[in-house]
């Protein structure tokens, strides 16, 4: 299992254990973390799984994909350098302890 901490827009933190191979979006939804919607189920269609990767983790989660950039154009909240679609971040042991911040709205 891989530990992930979600920091909501109001600063409150939720830590959950995700399965290796699952995406950050799936982990949030499976653990009832508010603030990630994931309306398209991870098909990179909805941009309602937008998150900001914590600066300390940005080198480990990798770059965003070309299409991801384009889909983020449709995100409801401000897009920053650290913005990712959380359905495109797959968990593995190297991400154990991952911290992501959630935007204040998803649509």
């Amino acid at each position: 299992m891989v530990k992930v901490t979600f920091v909501a827009a109001d600063g409150s933190e939720t830590s959950v254990e995700g399965e290796e191979g699952a995406s950050v979006m799936q982990t949030a939804v499976a653990n009832d973390v508010e603030g990630i919607v994931g309306e398209c189920g991870g098909s990179m269609m909805c941009a309602t799984c937008h998150c900001y990767v914590d600066d300390a983790w940005i080198s480990k989660t990798g770059e965003r994909q070309h299409d991801e950039d384009d889909m983020l154009e449709g995100a409801a909240s401000e897009v920053r350098e650290t913005s990712r679609l959380s359905c495109q971040i797959k968990l593995d042991q190297s991400l154990d302890g991952l911290v992501v911040h959630l935007p204040d709205e998803q649509f």
Partner: protein, 388 residues
């Protein structure tokens, strides 16, 4: 603000969303979500895509089990609503009766069953149970025939050919996905499926199904061990009709998604609503329509007086390495202009952009979504800016 109780019939994409949105919008009254399928509410799109390949039901769940308790949503699985008593504000279900202050019909759609002899031999792909059965059969050297070259049939064909199965797709219309996309897109996907190794037959309806496969009107017989019926759907309106609600191609609703009874709303696949752009009454089978309808109804029931419903339709379909995305809604005879091999613009008779179809081009898709959602009229020149 609706004082409740609010009862939702159908626990699919839209039913679950309206329950979630009602709580988010501050509705604190009684909330019951009733579904006739077992297990927790799940998403259908992956059934013909990722789930067909990985078989992981965990990834389908719309919300975790704790969500229902925490949000105080009473969820009744494996329960069918059998009648609506509009005078008394009460419904009958297979496990008893329930009162409602407001009722939301989110009953979805069922597979269309054309009058073809031998249809009882076919498999469906609408529910998780259907998908499991199909996955079980989609192994080894079984030969598959798919009746219908629409989204679901083609998504399945793409996965099945990836498994190395022998696939024939029989489509009655002269082109693929004819109701939803331009001729140019139909052509692009025809080539794709033929390159993947599927046999695709067009313009020749299935006339009969027998032990050895399917027969076409034109006289061809195709050998198949398994047959998937994917010839479209029809809205689930039986309940609404029996209760005397207006129905025509779905449950008729107004621009606030209210049925002909002001205590009953309807959404998603089962609802026929006025399209704010074309002025036509339409019914959409998409996650977008189900969820945007749900949010609209939740806003209305919690006392916000929303503008008439006007969310922009959008849709996607994954077939092998082609991701088709559609922003907007074209009428079948809207002009189609292929601006590059993977981007088609649709324009109505007044040269207004109605939709853009793209393959593997999220940038143009997303830009179109933003542009059209604004509600302005977009002519050919402005449309071209989408490409830059």
């Amino acid at each position: 603000m609706e004082s409740g109780p609010i009862v939702i019939v159908g626990a699919g994409q839209g039913g679950l969303q309206v329950a979630a949105s009602l709580r988010q919008a501050g509705y604190e009254g009684e909330l019951t979500l009733i579904g006739n399928e077992p297990g927790l509410p799940y998403q259908r799109p992956p059934l013909s895509k990722a789930y067909m390949q990985d078989g992981n039901p965990g990834a389908l769940k719309l919300r975790a089990a704790e969500f229902y308790d925490k949000q105080q949503i009473r969820y009744l699985p494996e329960t069918s609503v059998t009648a609506i008593d509009r005078d008394d504000g009460r419904i009958a279900t297979t496990s008893g009766e329930l009162d409602f202050g407001h009722l939301i019909l989110a009953t979805g759609a069922s597979n269309l069953r054309p009058p073809i002899p031998g249809l009882d031999r076919t498999l469906d792909l609408r529910t998780l149970a259907d998908a499991d059965k199909l996955r079980e059969r989609a192994t080894g050297d079984r030969r598959f025939a798919v009746i219908g070259g629409g989204f679901i049939g083609l998504e399945f064909a793409a996965v099945a050919s990836k498994f190395g199965l022998d696939v024939v797709v029989a489509e009655a219309a002269p082109r693929l996905m004819a109701r939803a996309v331009s001729p140019q897109m139909s052509e692009l996907f025809l080539k794709k499926h033929r390159d993947l190794g599927s046999t695709v037959l067009l313009g020749d309806p299935v006339s009969a199904i027998d032990d050895r496969g399917i027969a076409l009107v034109g006289g061809t017989h195709l050998e198949a061990d398994e047959i998937l019926l994917a010839a479209g759907v029809r809205p689930n309106t039986v309940l609404a009709e029996a209760a005397g609600l207006d129905c025509a191609n779905g449950v008729t609703v107004d621009a606030q998604l209210l049925t002909s009874d002001p205590r009953i709303s309807a959404l998603g696949d089962c609802a026929c609503f006025p399209d704010s752009r074309s002025g036509l009454r339409i019914r959409l089978e998409s996650v977008q329509a189900a969820t945007d309808h749900a949010r609209h109804i939740a806003a209305r029931l919690t006392g916000k007086q929303p503008d008439p419903y006007n969310a922009l339709p959008w849709f996607w379909s994954d077939q092998a390495d082609y991701k088709l995305q559609i922003a907007g809604l074209a009428q079948p005879d809207d002009r189609a202009e292929a601006v590059d091999e993977h981007v088609v613009f649709r324009f109505d008779a007044e040269d207004r952009l109605t939709a853009v179809e793209t393959v593997n081009n999220a940038r143009v898709h997303m830009r179109t979504r933003k542009l059209l959602a604004g509600g302005e009229t977009v002519g050919p020149d402005t449309a071209r800016d989408l490409l830059s």
